[in-house]
């Protein structure tokens, strides 16, 4: 298996974008090509979840490759729920590592705001089990709410901890030009003040408005290449050193222990093993905080902190920008935004930017090893990636 390097990255603002979906996927691709100086690729992977259902566009990869005028190269669309982004990166990795291709482009895009908020929530709810969950009106926030209640009972996580995650991520996003929300918030205003119940109402008890990520449009792109191609490009050498993917039961009720995210644990373990590092060696991480509780629990499941101690690390400030292990320096999904198909690639974009030393005000000092966790469904299909700087 050959080594695979990230030679170019591109991203759009995660916000409301009034452009056709194919353009939202193509724009960061053009940025990545400019970044790397590459103008021809062997294969294009497009990560997306809603093209068929909300954007009336199936076969998205075929649309994107033509709009970029990169035909006749092959193109594949990948739909893996919210884990589409990292799944597409894994496919791209396999193409280059196997020797089949030398340069592949992995782009992700989502245009959720083509429909209104209600339809967007319904669309995401189709991830649930059709007979055991969907017909009851189960949405992803309700699954997160049920999960949060159990975690609060078992480990003593409180609404305050969840609010701390949101405040931290909003503060980080103030330094991120591409983030959806540039709005600092305070714990006092969203939990303590008399107006807290209007500012921060319950959405799926015990989760509140500021525990949920926004609905965003956006796109991101990575160009993966073999060592020979990467050598000729004058950019820092960032290697995709480890990847792992694991699945779990479709219906959340069937999970062995409903307080554990076994797919996260398994995927992270595989990624660390492949990269031959321990979790403690990671300098910066982007975890999938579609709901603030997930940042806390994922930080435990991937191995950064002991089970039940994630919120204590948060209290100590270990996961803030200046802490021992900054998590979500970009603002995470909470403040940077969550265009479902593009998120995984957006996380990779942030880690590569950090490892290159180009993150400006949100730069994590001496970042050499980065980690992302892209959480699909409600924890039934998870992809983890490890990036290393090699020069």
């Amino acid at each position: 298996m050959r080594n695979v390097y990230v030679v170019g990255i591109g991203i759009t603002s995660f916000t409301r974008l009034e452009y056709p979906l194919a353009e939202i996927a193509a724009y960061p691709a053009m940025m990545a090509m400019k970044d790397s100086g590459i103008s021809k690729i062997d294969h294009l992977y497009v990560a997306n979840m809603g093209a068929g259902r909300i954007n009336q566009q199936t076969g998205l990869a075929s649309a994107v490759i033509d709009t970029l005028s990169l035909t006749p190269a092959g193109a594949t669309a990948i739909e893996n729920g919210p884990a589409s982004g990292a799944s597409a990166i894994i496919q791209g990795f396999q193409a280059v590592a196997s020797g089949m291709h030398d340069v592949v482009m992995v782009t992700g895009a989502e245009r959720m705001r083509e429909v209104n908020n209600l339809e967007a929530t319904d669309f995401v709810a189709t991830l649930t089990h059709p007979l055991a969950e969907y017909i009851y009106g189960v949405t992803l926030p309700s699954l997160a709410g049920m999960f949060t209640r159990l975690i609060m009972e078992k480990h003593g996580v409180t609404s305050r901890h969840l609010a701390m995650v949101a405040v931290k991520n909003h503060a980080n996003a103030m330094h991120n030009f591409f983030a959806h929300l540039h709005q600092p918030i305070t714990i006092e205003a969203i939990l303590d003040s008399p107006e807290a119940s209007t500012n921060n109402p319950f959405v799926a008890e015990p989760l509140r408005f500021f525990d949920m990520c926004p609905v965003s449009d956006g796109g991101a792109c990575l160009i993966l290449a073999s060592e020979d191609v990467a050598k000729k490009i004058n950019r820092p050498k960032i290697r995709l050193a480890g990847l792992g993917q694991a699945t779990d039961t479709h219906a959340v009720q069937e999970r062995k222990d409903p307080t554990e995210l076994l797919a996260v644990r398994g995927a992270a373990a595989k990624a660390f093993e492949m990269a031959q590092i321990k979790p403690s060696q990671v300098n910066v991480a982007e975890l999938h905080d579609a709901f603030t509780i997930l940042e806390i629990v994922e930080s435990e499941e991937v191995g950064f902190f002991k089970k039940g101690e994630g919120h204590k690390a948060l209290e100590r400030g270990d996961t803030s920008l200046t802490g021992k292990l900054p998590i979500n320096p970009s603002g995470g999904l909470k403040a940077k935004g969550h265009p479902v198909g593009a998120t995984g690639i957006g996380q990779a974009h942030e880690i590569v930017t950090q490892l290159r030393g180009e993150a400006e005000k949100r730069q994590v000092k001496n970042a050499k090893i980065g980690f992302t966790c892209n959480f699909g469904g409600f924890g039934n299909n998870v992809c983890c990636l490890v990036f290393k700087r090699e020069d």
Binding site: D122, L131, A251
Partner: protein
């Protein structure tokens, strides 16, 4: 009307919801299960009150919960319980859980036991 679990014809492992291959032995011919009605009594493992239900549900809040039935099978259902608590004993009934434009869908609704 009943809510059915599916018992593997080879090893007897009970599943809910349906899957094509037995999770325990993986040896049954696909779709070879015996439907077995599920018990109606159980204990509430976790719950939430959803304030933003999907668009077809014209209610202000929707109570949802995961219940562990007496035989160990877990079911997600709607709750018609004013003040749910983790661990409380519940009993289920089959009722309309989703009334879409043209048809109704039935599922488990839980009440305080």
């Amino acid at each position: 009307m009943e809510l059915y679990g599916y018992k593997c014809k080879k090893c007897g492992h009970l599943h809910y919801p349906y899957r094509m291959v037995c999770k325990n032995c993986c040896k049954n011919e696909h779709n070879e299960f015996d439907p077995v009605p599920l018990p109606r009594k159980g204990k509430l493992l976790t719950f939430t009150i959803l304030h933003n239900p999907p668009s077809d549900y014209e209610v202000v809040t929707l109570g949802l919960g995961i219940v562990e039935l007496d035989n160990g099978i877990r079911v997600t259902g709607q709750l018609r319980i004013p003040n749910p608590k983790i661990g409380m004993k519940v009993r289920g009934e089959i009722d309309v859980v989703h009334a879409a434009e043209y048809d109704k869908q039935y599922g488990m609704v839980f009440f305080k036991a």
